[in-house]
């Protein structure tokens, strides 16, 4: 056996490529690919469109959007809430579809397994890549939302909560950050489930169809009164909780329970993906 080079981590005698190098390579690949950049660019347009729409309209639309007028820091939260319905899950699912099914269809998964990268490490690297897309997507919506809110809508001096109180600009931004972090958690759950599907197929389109189909079916199920008992099981049930960051004092109940539910989906998704990827023929 050739002696492994000094900077090569090893366990049980098997030489392994350094994890940081694998992660750097994966993040480069994920964030530099054209479709990711296009998706991030389009997501960044969402808050701009909402902002422009509100400024141009005489009377703002219904729901959360009524709160945005003259209250710029609510814009990023509204944009996150609207994007979470479909656009953000779509972006994350796309990344997860490319992560395993896409690599497999290009024949590049084989190369990684032959290097070799152990299948457990491969899943870990891929999960980090998908999470990176989730974070980048949410950051794009939130950051452009804050900028648009301040520049177009105005009201940078604070945030008017749904409860009627006024928060300073610092705590306003903190609320936006909380909404963003919570959204990343929900997207991580979707990403994990999508990775599980991705580990079981060679066709990225199947991943997209199954995962987004699932999100839509969940939405339908939660709308049926007869299936109310199912509510606690559905990931989408807690998605209204994002509005809670606009209340004062902050009610943590729903935010926490929906995050907890996302954690369960995350664990189940990753466990299924791991089980599948270790037996998969590449």
């Amino acid at each position: 056996m050739t002696v492994a080079q000094p900077d090569v981590a090893g366990r049980g005698g098997a030489p392994r490529a350094p994890m940081t190098r694998l992660l750097r390579s994966e993040l480069r690949w994920v964030l530099y690919r054209p479709r990711t950049q296009v998706a991030l660019g389009l997501l960044a347009l969402v808050p701009v469109l909402i902002g422009v729409g509100i400024v141009l309209a005489d009377s703002p639309g219904g729901g959360l959007l009524t709160q945005v007028a003259g209250n710029g820091l609510v814009l990023p939260v509204a944009a996150l809430s609207i994007s979470l319905a479909l656009l953000l899950p779509l972006t994350v699912t796309m990344a997860a579809a490319d992560a395993l099914a896409g690599e497999s269809s290009h024949g590049t998964l084989r190369g990684l397994l032959l290097a070799p990268v152990s299948r457990g490490r491969l899943l870990a690297v891929k999960a980090v890549g998908v999470l990176a897309v989730a974070v980048a997507a949410v950051a794009a919506v939130a950051a452009v939302g804050v900028l648009t809110g301040i520049v177009l809508v105005g009201g940078a001096d604070g945030m008017l909560t749904l409860s009627g109180s006024e928060l300073g600009p610092g705590s306003g931004l903190l609320r936006v950050a909380l909404a963003a972090a919570w959204t990343v958690g929900q997207l991580a759950a979707i990403g994990a489930v999508a990775l599980a599907v991705s580990s079981a197929t060679d066709h990225p389109l199947v991943v997209l169809a199954v995962t987004l189909g699932g999100v839509i079916v969940f939405g339908v199920l939660s709308a049926l009164p007869a299936l109310e008992w199912m509510q606690p099981l559905l990931l989408t049930t807690g998605w209204r909780a994002i509005v809670d960051v606009l209340r004062d004092p902050l009610p943590f109940g729903e935010l926490l329970s929906s995050s907890y539910r996302a954690g369960c989906y995350l664990l189940i998704g990753l466990a299924l993906a791991l089980a599948r990827i270790t037996t998969r023929e590449a």
């Binding site: 900077d7 090569v8 098997a14 030489p15 690949w29 054209p34 290009h106 024949g107 290097a115 070799p116």
Partner: protein
């Protein structure tokens, strides 16, 4: 058939065990009711260049995939460089370079970026050595000039070369190339032969699969012939080529008079399209040609017919299928 014994039996058993770069026992793979590989035994001595010959669909790629732990055998065992696979794949695969089922790369990255990505996963490559190893591998396959172009703009031959470069990123002890000359022009084919010869010269064991006998004859020291998932024969190339009675193919328009002349000297011969085939028993090729010329037969060409492998392979690939 207990194939592979032809190679191993020439050595003492312990020597064979120590020197086998690939050791396969009872390897079998089924997909449902289809038997892709049926009970193959094979030994490849370290330092050999094994040509794995077989028509399309004979189980070459399935077998290579099992050797490389990409696919689990239904039954049987595989040892690469002395380590059992797939259980010790993590130990042995860093020393193995492979091009399997065509090159696999990302279309939106350049050739160099694709190789960098592959190099990042190579356990035996120090991080500081990655850029150098990538440039060396690109130079070795003649892609330095096109390294900055996107993979999607590559021709088929360039894609194949990049796949070869990925297998050569690290000095390997075993290199497995599945149909490496697919899509290459004659110059590219010669280059692959040169690379295989270089690897052989450096003591690397090479496994090349091909459906072209000429390809294998040009580069290999050993041959294994697969058909319908079974190993038909295997052994050193020279032994297989000269396995049967040596034959001489003589190209001549005067078939009748040639047969008469040879018959009068009690040399076995038969008519074949474009000439006669002479059995070289008790007579050498030069004497045959001399006696034909003495008999006034026009000899256009005379060459040794490599009966064994040639015939076998012709039967396999052109037979009734």
């Amino acid at each position: 058939m207990t194939a592979g014994s032809a190679i191993a039996s020439t050595m003492r058993v312990d020597e064979a065990t120590a020197a086998a770069a690939i050791r396969v026992r009872g390897l079998r793979k089924t997909f449902g009711h289809t038997v892709a590989v049926a009970a193959v035994d094979l030994d490849v001595p370290a330092g050999a260049v094994l040509g794995m010959l077989g028509p399309n669909g004979s189980g070459k790629t399935t077998m290579i995939r099992m050797l490389l732990a990409l696919s689990r055998p239904t039954a049987g065992s595989v040892e690469l460089l002395g380590s059992p696979v797939p259980s010790d794949a993590g130990q042995v695969l860093p020393h193995v370079g492979a091009l399997v089922e065509g090159p696999g790369f990302h279309p939106f990255l350049s050739g160099r970026e694709n190789l960098r990505r592959a190099a990042a996963a190579e356990p035996l490559l120090a991080t500081a050595a990655v850029p150098g190893a990538v440039d060396d591998a690109l130079a070795r396959v003649g892609l330095s000039a096109a390294a900055g172009r996107r993979y999607r703009a590559y021709s088929m031959g360039m894609k194949q070369r990049l796949g070869l470069a990925a297998a050569l990123l690290v000095p390997r002890r075993l290199v497995v190339l599945d149909e490496p000359t697919n899509g290459l022009d004659p110059a590219g084919t010669r280059e692959v032969r040169r690379i295989v010869a270089e690897l052989h010269g450096a003591g690397t064991t090479v496994l090349v699969s091909s459906h072209l006998l000429a390809e294998v004859e040009a580069t290999c020291t050993h041959v294994a012939v697969l058909a319908e998932g079974s190993l038909i024969t295997s052994g050193p190339l020279a032994a297989l080529l000269d396995g049967d009675a040596p034959l001489l193919d003589v190209a001549t328009p005067d078939v009748e008079s040639a047969l008469d002349a040879l018959c009068s000297e009690s040399v076995g011969a038969s008519a074949v399209p474009g000439g006669v085939r002479v059995e070289l028993i008790g007579i050498d090729a030069a004497s045959v040609v001399a006696s034909l010329v003495r008999a006034g037969v026009a000899v256009h060409e005379a060459r040794r017919a490599r009966a064994g492998l040639d015939e076998l392979f012709a039967q396999l690939t052109e037979g009734d299928r």
